[in-house]
């Protein structure tokens, strides 16, 4: 009887058998996503897309710039996860547990990633090398305890309202825009200015949206973010303002001829997606989705750009 049941369970074409076969694969994929999510490696993939967007918009030739920025992103954010493990415990207990369990391996991986990024950046010349050091320098000022240790009442930039988000936005806007430019040995043009402004404003929103989820932990740790200081509703209006500014920049770029209209529309598609995320900000009690959702803006923009390019 048992044998019969077994043979039935293993009959070809049976959906249960398919599920049984897929189960380890699905479990492996889930584990991989957990590692990508908690270690911040998924952000590297997103940043590679961002540099790709910058290179397409600026019409730059292929270069190692996306890889360099991807490695830098992993190194900086992995470090940030480690440095903020205590502060994140309240809002992201699973991530904190993962980071604590693999802290050493994560730090070594981050250090090696930064080493590779710097070495690769040297292929772009001294300017690219200097730019590759910027995110690390900003991170030291932003999140590490280096500034407070100097004394004289200095605080981590992360703890200072708006400066924290502006620093993050500035660091990424500079890297995303100027690193591929340095590799291509091109000068600064008005289009570069538009792209820089676009990335600065988008990075500002991307940095502030996850703060909504981290509100309780940030408040406890004394980190003054917009959601902590002005509340969720007002944060939403501030972000609407930044989105409007982005739309204005894209419109100006297209009107002045610095961006082609299809490119402006493609970037606008990403912006529209981000606007949707901001609108839904206060709708759900569980805001875990805010960790990844803001970053998908670039996936939308990249997909739209691909459509434009293929069209």
């Amino acid at each position: 009887m048992v044998r019969k049941q077994d043979s039935r369970a293993l009959a070809p074409g049976d959906s249960a058998r398919l599920l049984a076969l897929l189960a380890p694969v699905l479990a492996g994929l889930k584990q991989l996503w957990t590692v990508l999510l908690y270690s911040s490696a998924y952000l590297s993939v997103v940043t590679v897309l961002e540099v790709g967007i910058a290179m397409v918009v600026l019409s730059l030739p292929p270069s190692p710039a996306p890889v360099v920025v991807g490695l830098l992103t992993f190194a900086v954010y992995a470090n940030d996860r480690i440095a903020d493990a205590d502060d994140d415990e309240l809002d992201k207990p699973d991530q904190t547990a993962f980071v604590r369990r693999h802290e050493n391996a994560l730090y070594v991986a981050a250090a090696v990633a930064y080493g590779l990024a710097v070495a690769s950046a040297m292929l772009g010349g001294p300017a690219a090398l200097a730019l590759s050091l910027l995110p690390g320098t900003f991170w030291v000022l932003y999140a590490s305890d280096w500034l407070p240790r100097l004394g004289a009442g200095l605080r981590r930039l992360k703890d200072v309202l708006l400066v924290n988000t502006a620093v993050v936005a500035l660091a990424w806007a500079v890297s995303l825009t100027f690193l591929p430019l340095a590799f291509a040995d091109r000068g600064v043009t008005p289009t570069v200015g538009v792209v820089f402004a676009y990335f600065f404003l988008r990075s500002f929103v991307d940095a502030e949206l996850p703060n909504v989820r981290d509100r309780a932990g940030d408040a406890e740790a004394g980190v003054r973010t917009l959601p902590v200081v002005v509340g969720l509703e007002r944060t939403r209006y501030v972000l609407y303002g930044v989105d409007a500014a982005t739309a204005a920049v894209l419109a100006y770029g297209a009107a002045a001829g610095f961006l082609s209209v299809p490119v402006a529309v493609a970037l606008g598609a990403g912006l529209a997606y981000s606007l949707g995320v901001t609108t839904l900000l206060t709708r759900y009690a569980d805001r875990a989705w805010l960790t990844v959702a803001p970053e998908l803006e670039y996936v939308v923009a990249a997909a739209a750009l691909a459509v434009v390019a293929l069209g």
Binding site: V108, A111, Y114, G115, L116, A119, S120, M122, L123, P126
Partner: protein, 558 residues
């Protein structure tokens, strides 16, 4: 096919990646001793290698010269970082002061200034020409006078840094040996490469491959951090701790040079010297401690009396000669251990011992004498007299044991006298058989050429006597077995009596007694102390089914 310039660029990039990663790992370890200096050193490596890459890749001569000059910042930072790391990591951080760092930085700063202004003088480079190997264009720069100054300075700092690390290689701690070996290997590689490059014995004499060799340094430092806990388990406290032991030890310690002058002393020595340490240094030790006598003399009185704050205080003095690396005597460390308390206790014990032995023995003999003269009429009176005689005999036996213990303790201070095992055992076994004819005493065969400490005699007798005296078995047996091993002898005495009460052992295990928890007499203490004095150890076990097994494990003296 990969061109030479691309191949060199690739290995330089590896060096940059590895050194940068190692620097970041060191960053995390701040403020552990040496971490900041490692960051400085590896930062120099990255700088040097990075601008060498730019020099190789530059398309114009002016750019090549510019990047070549800029490399000096990294070149001169490395030896300073290396020396600071070696000093901090090995605990010699008293040398790492702003003033010292400033002095160390003079040559590097001058070098960088000369590099920046190299177009207007030939102090750093006498000439700059271009050498080509196919498409590969290299600068050939002939060093000027300052080039050799900075080269010599770099090697000097490098050598100085190796000295304290070599000390750790000889350390007993395997972990520190591993750390230092990794660091030394990693650091020697670029230094040796640089020396070979400067000597012009490497292929491509115009190209200095030292930054490439620093990849080995980076890997070694990465390994030292991740595998040998470079900054987690740091030997830095050792250097200070050794000094601290000297400074804070209870015993007075004075360091005297070969001519009898005091060159150092610890805090505890000040009362003996009668002055502050700084005033005593440089003065002849004989003028401050006249009772000490000649230090070279091997025959020293048992105790030296020194006037301390008006009191004559006895000290146990030990003199330890200090030799240099060539085994030449360069001084002595004289330590003074205050034995006044020990001598007072010894004196009290001697008085008590005399009173106990002499007075108790005399009085018990008198009690026994007078008890013998009594003529008890009734059974009750006879029983009372019997108890008096029995108790007096026990007091006498106690006194006798106390005498034996004192003898043993006095023997401890002298050399161990050897006695052959047959001499130790035969007479006592015979005495036991005579004293306890009802007890069967069996002795297994044992080696006749074996010698043990003579002080063991009273111990063996007490073990045998205990085994027989308290044996209430209907057919009492005492068995003696000897097992002689390499350097040790085991004497095992087994009886089939009622065994020893657990409380008796508990006092021995604690090493002390209280009014409530104590042994019933001195016998077990005599066995314990006597074996200890003979350099052995004793164990008590229960015999199966009844009785006790006493094992004396003592050293062989043959």
């Amino acid at each position: 096919m990969v061109s030479l310039v691309d191949a060199l660029t690739a290995v330089l990039l590896v060096s940059v990646a590895v050194s940068f990663a190692a620097a970041l790992l060191a960053w995390r370890e701040r403020p552990e001793p040496g971490a900041s200096a490692v960051i400085l050193m590896l930062g120099g490596v990255v700088w040097w290698a990075a601008f060498l890459v730019f020099e190789l890749q530059a398309s114009t001569l002016a750019r090549k010269i510019l990047w070549s000059d800029v490399q000096w910042v990294g070149v001169v930072v490395i030896p300073v970082g290396w020396l600071l790391f070696a000093l901090m990591y090995t605990g010699r951080d008293e040398y790492v002061r702003p003033r010292v760092v400033a002095v160390l930085s003079v040559v590097p700063v001058v070098t960088v200034v000369l590099a920046v202004t190299s177009n207007s003088h030939d102090l750093l480079y006498r000439s700059t020409t271009v050498v080509t190997y196919g498409d590969f264009v290299l600068l050939e720069r002939a060093g000027g006078p300052w080039y050799w100054v900075v080269a010599a300075y770099t090697y000097a700092l490098g050598a100085l840094g190796f000295v304290p690390l070599f000390d750790l290689i000889r350390s007993n701690a395997v972990l520190f040996r591993g750390q230092s070996a990794a660091l030394l290997f990693g650091s020697l590689t670029p230094w040796v490469t640089n020396i070979l490059s400067v000597m012009g014995v490497l292929p491509l004499p115009e190209f200095d491959p030292t930054p490439i060799a620093f990849a080995v340094t980076g890997v070694a430092f990465l390994g030292a951090v991740t595998q040998y806990q470079l900054f987690d388990a740091s030997p830095a406290p050792n250097w200070r701790a050794r000094r601290l032991v000297f400074e804070r030890m209870d015993d007075a310690a004075i360091v005297v040079d070969n001519h009898g002058y005091v060159v150092d002393a610890n805090e505890s020595a000040e009362p003996l010297l009668g002055r502050a340490r700084r005033d005593a240094i440089g003065e002849p030790v004989a003028s401050m401690l006249p009772t000490l006598g000649p230090l070279a003399d091997d025959c020293r009185p048992e105790h030296v009396t020194v006037d301390v704050d008006g009191d004559d205080t006895p000290f146990d003095v030990s003199v330890t000669p200090v030799y240099d690396v060539r085994d030449r005597l360069i001084g002595r460390v004289v330590t003074f251990h205050d034995v006044s308390r020990y001598l007072r206790q010894k004196q009290r014990l001697e008085v008590l011992n005399r009173a106990f032995r002499h007075n108790v023995r005399t009085d018990t003999q008198m009690i026994l004498g007078y008890a013998g003269q009594l003529s008890p009429d009734t059974d009750e009176e006879r029983e009372a007299v019997g108890i008096v005689e029995q108790r007096a005999a026990r007091i006498a036996a106690l006194g006798e044991k106390a005498r034996v213990i004192v003898d043993l303790i006095e023997r401890e201070e002298g050399p161990r006298v050897p006695v052959s095992l047959p001499e130790l055992l035969d007479g006592r076994v015979q005495r036991l058989r005579q004293s306890y004819p009802g007890v069967t005493v069996e002795v297994s065969a044992f080696p006749a050429d074996c010698t043990v400490p003579a002080s063991l005699g009273p111990v063996v007798w007490n073990v045998l006597e205990n085994a027989a005296e308290h044996n209430t078995n209907d057919d009492p047996h005492v068995r003696v077995a000897v097992a002689a091993g390499e350097g040790r002898v085991e004497i095992r005495v087994t009886d089939d009596g009622p065994g020893v009460r657990d409380g008796e052992y508990a006092a021995l295990e604690r090493g002390t007694e209280t009014p409530l928890r104590h042994a019933s007499g001195l016998g077990l203490w005599l066995i314990q102390w006597g074996t200890d004095i003979a350099g052995g150890r004793v164990t008590f076990e229960n015999n199966d089914p009844t009785g006790t097994v006493v094992t004396l494990d003592v050293p062989r003296l043959d």
